[in-house]
């Protein structure tokens, strides 16, 4: 049986003393957490271990003794062996190292001497690291060995609070024995965040944002962000790694969003860009209307050499032309107010770039409302025609659609029913190309607008869901997000046990983004491509961007 001892690198050159650590349940291994030096009183050591065990929830104990004898200390080995009687243990490890020698020597008392394997680990990195896939924080004896090692080290934080500047009775060596590090900026931010959170939560209580309409994407984005702010400004601190990462990602995303929004505002309000945009908007709308009129004139003639039904063509064409005329008058009516509207709309970029994009998407939807109307008229007409044609085709063949059985059944019609049916069928069939052409043209225009809106929505979604904090953590402090470990051989001398170095294998960037993506109101199309094409063919109205409610974990 191989006994594995996980030994921290910070204690490689520690003075002689007692090893404090924990045996891993279910496996033949032990984790050394700290070394307590001489002089100490055994009763105080036991009390200290008891205190730390209750504070951390980890079953700590004295594992054995460590000796790195300097010239002054002689006869330390015997003293260390005698300590065994004071701390009665099942197994007592006696690890020793001579100066100048890389490998350790270890002997286990009271057990048969099996092979020993030393695995060196960096205590600070392992303490801060989180193994993925993330599981519960408590120690579970059925977990794998490495996961238990990581959990034991991260839960033993109370043990690392004793540093060498303390005046207490015990002196120990661990990664933080040189003194705790803290950052003034972080402390100041923590103090400043308390009143800030209180003000934000008060503001959010005052403004009830729950009744907002769910059609306009600006309102949806507003309610989404207010939910986030409410979660952030709650007085409870984050419990567990996932919640902490979620909160941090949301905070960084909001800050980056607002920074980009301010940049956009700066660009908009400097150099008179707003008046330029406003002056360009009305002629652009005019231009679009003129192009549409030309298109309709082309359709009313002989488009692509096809011969249309003159009467139906004129009716439909005149109807749509009148619509465009109404639209143009409306735009001209609005033109003096466009600049003010744009000016106030630009202020929304102060809330964040995602708001500006959502507002832009809504404005695009409003400005192209006539295209949407045309599409609906064309689609309804086409849909009616298709259903009429299919039903009359069935009549032509002597069949009928059975609504009860949801299938096609044969049916005997009267002669006059057949006559009228065939007549109507011929009329609809010959009018079919005209309607189909109008439908095709307006569907293409509508799809163009939908694609534009889709791009804007996807950008907003990207800004909302990208876990920037997690990516930054992966790039700067890669040991915090661990996918696994990797081993390499440290020391392979013939007389000493094998020493391995355990390093943290960081998570790949793609997995980081996948694991820590903030859930958003997803606006991906809910139909697959085949369904979409089928709907287009039949003439059903398509709503590709349906807002789902935010998924809660």
């Amino acid at each position: 049986m191989v006994l594995k001892i996980f030994y921290p690198q910070c204690c490689n050159l520690a003075n002689s003393g007692l090893l404090i650590g924990s045996w891993i349940q279910g496996h033949n291994s032990a984790v050394v957490l700290a070394v307590v030096h001489y002089p100490f009183i055994p009763g105080q050591v036991k009390r200290y271990i008891q205190q730390v065990s209750t504070a951390s929830g980890v079953k700590l104990s004295v594992l054995g003794s460590w000796s790195l004898p300097s010239e002054a200390e002689k006869g330390v080995e015997n003293f260390l062996r005698d300590l065994r009687t004071i701390f009665p243990q099942d197994r007592w490890l006696q690890i020793s190292r001579k100066m100048g020698q890389t490998g350790f020597n270890c002997s286990i008392l009271d057990r048969s001497q099996g092979t020993i394997l030393f695995v060196h680990y960096d205590q600070r990195n392992v303490m801060l690291s989180q193994l993925h896939p993330i599981q519960t924080e408590e120690l579970d004896p059925s977990d794998s060995e490495l996961r238990q090692v990581f959990q034991i080290v991260s839960l033993s934080q109370p043990l690392f609070l004793l540093d060498r500047y303390d005046d207490g009775p015990l002196k120990s060596t661990h990664w933080q024995s040189g003194g705790q590090e803290a950052s003034i900026i972080v402390e100041l931010l923590k103090m400043a965040s308390v009143p800030l959170c209180l003000t934000i939560s008060c503001l959010l209580h005052l403004l009830p944002l729950n009744f907002l309409c769910s059609k306009l994407s600006t309102c949806v984005q507003l309610s989404y962000r207010s939910d986030h702010l409410r979660a952030l400004s709650s007085p409870k601190t984050a419990v567990g790694h996932s919640e902490f990462m979620r909160k941090a990602n949301v905070l960084v995303s909001i800050l980056v969003d607002m920074a980009l929004g301010f940049l956009l505002m700066y660009w908009l309000y400097s150099d008179n860009h707003i008046s330029m945009l406003a002056n360009a908007l009305v002629p652009a709308a005019d231009h679009v209307a003129k192009e549409l009129e030309e298109l309709l004139q082309w359709l009313m003639g002989a488009p692509a050499g096809l011969k249309m039904n003159r009467a139906l063509d004129e009716v439909l064409g005149r109807f749509f032309l009148y619509h465009i005329h109404l639209w143009i008058s409306y735009i001209h009516l609005m033109s003096p107010f466009v600049e003010t509207i744009l000016w106030y709309g630009g202020l929304s970029a102060g809330l964040g770039l995602s708001f500006a994009l959502a507002l832009l998407s809504d404005m695009v939807a409003l400005l192209t409302f006539h295209i949407y109307c045309f599409y609906v008229y064309g689609a309804r007409l086409y849909c009616l025609k298709i259903y009429g044609l299919s039903s009359l085709w069935r009549l032509f063949r002597g069949k009928k659609w059975n609504v009860l059985r949801q299938r096609v059944d044969s049916c005997s019609y009267d002669l006059d029913q057949l006559f009228i049916g065939t007549l109507l069928f011929t009329i609809l069939l010959f009018l079919f190309p005209t309607t189909a052409l109008y439908y095709l043209v307006f569907t293409l225009l509508r799809l163009l607008v939908v694609v534009l809106q889709g791009i804007l929505h996807l950008t907003v979604d990207l800004i909302n869901s990208l876990p920037l904090f997690a990516v930054a953590l992966r790039l700067t402090r890669f040991y915090r997000l661990a996918e696994g470990v990797k081993f390499s051989v440290l020391c392979d001398e013939p007389d000493t046990p094998l020493h391995l170095l355990m390093e943290i294998n960081p998570l790949s960037c793609a997995s980081v983004i996948k694991t820590y993506r903030t859930p958003t109101y997803s606006c991906y199309p809910k139909d697959s491509w085949t369904n979409l094409v089928k709907k287009l063919f039949v003439g059903e109205l398509i709503y590709p961007w349906k807002h789902k409610t935010i998924k809660t974990d």
Binding site: H27, N28, L117, L146, V485, K486, F487, V489, D492
Partner: protein, 217 residues
């Protein structure tokens, strides 16, 4: 509790330092094995570096082609794009495709570690813990017109202890097309022999050697 003991067969000594084999494409590769302890072994497969002649031929052919196009079009964009394409494709090849060395590190009672190092110095490592490993077997596959043998790890399914959740091939580089039966020349005999996990599964360890005694196809 997982009781795993690595039984090293001392009769099969590591006689293969620096022995050369060929992989499926016919390029020669080297296998090296190092034993750090009775329960810890490291197997390294090295592939030879890209020969300079190939690099020169590749760059010259692309640049001559670009120059020919330039003579027709008289546009320097062709030349700059050819240079950029060569540089970027060589960098991507060296960083992502060309595996220089693969190492299989077997640590008794801890697990198996597989690491590949690329020609640009990048190293990717995966460590599989012992409690997730069901077995290490030699698997055969049909690749184009030949049958190749490759070493792979069977991983346990967490919900069903008897089922196999996934098969992870070790050694991307090293798939010999024929499996020689003599112990001294075949590389694949020795690797499972050093890793015989007793008590981990109900099958006998001889299963591993049985696979190697399949009739030659």
């Amino acid at each position: 509790m997982c009781k795993s003991v690595l039984q090293c067969q001392h009769q099969i000594l590591c006689t293969m330092e620096g022995e050369s084999f060929t992989d499926i494409n016919g390029t020669p590769i080297f296998l090296d094995c190092q034993s750090h302890s009775t329960f810890c072994r490291e197997f390294t497969v090295t592939s030879p570096k890209v020969p300079v002649t190939k690099v020169i031929v590749f760059t010259c052919s692309i640049w001559l082609l670009a120059y020919a196009v330039f003579l027709f079009t008289e546009d320097t964009v062709v030349l700059t794009s050819a240079i950029l394409i060569t540089l970027v494709s060589m960098m991507l090849y060296v960083h992502l495709v060309k595996v220089e060395q693969e190492t299989l590190f077997i640590i008794g009672s801890l697990g198996v570690q597989m690491s590949s190092s690329y020609a640009s110095g990048r190293e990717t490592t995966t460590f599989i813990e012992l409690n997730k490993i069901k077995d290490i077997v030699i698997n055969e596959a049909i690749y184009m017109h030949q049958i190749i043998y490759y070493l792979c790890v069977l991983l346990k399914d967490p919900s069903d202890p008897d089922a196999v959740s996934s098969v992870v091939p070790l050694f991307q580089l090293f798939c010999p097309p024929t499996l020689e039966r003599t112990a001294s020349t075949s590389p694949y005999h020795n690797i499972p022999a050093y890793f015989q996990v007793s008590g981990l599964n109900q099958r006998s360890p001889l299963q591993l050697t049985d696979k190697s005694l399949q009739p030659e196809l």
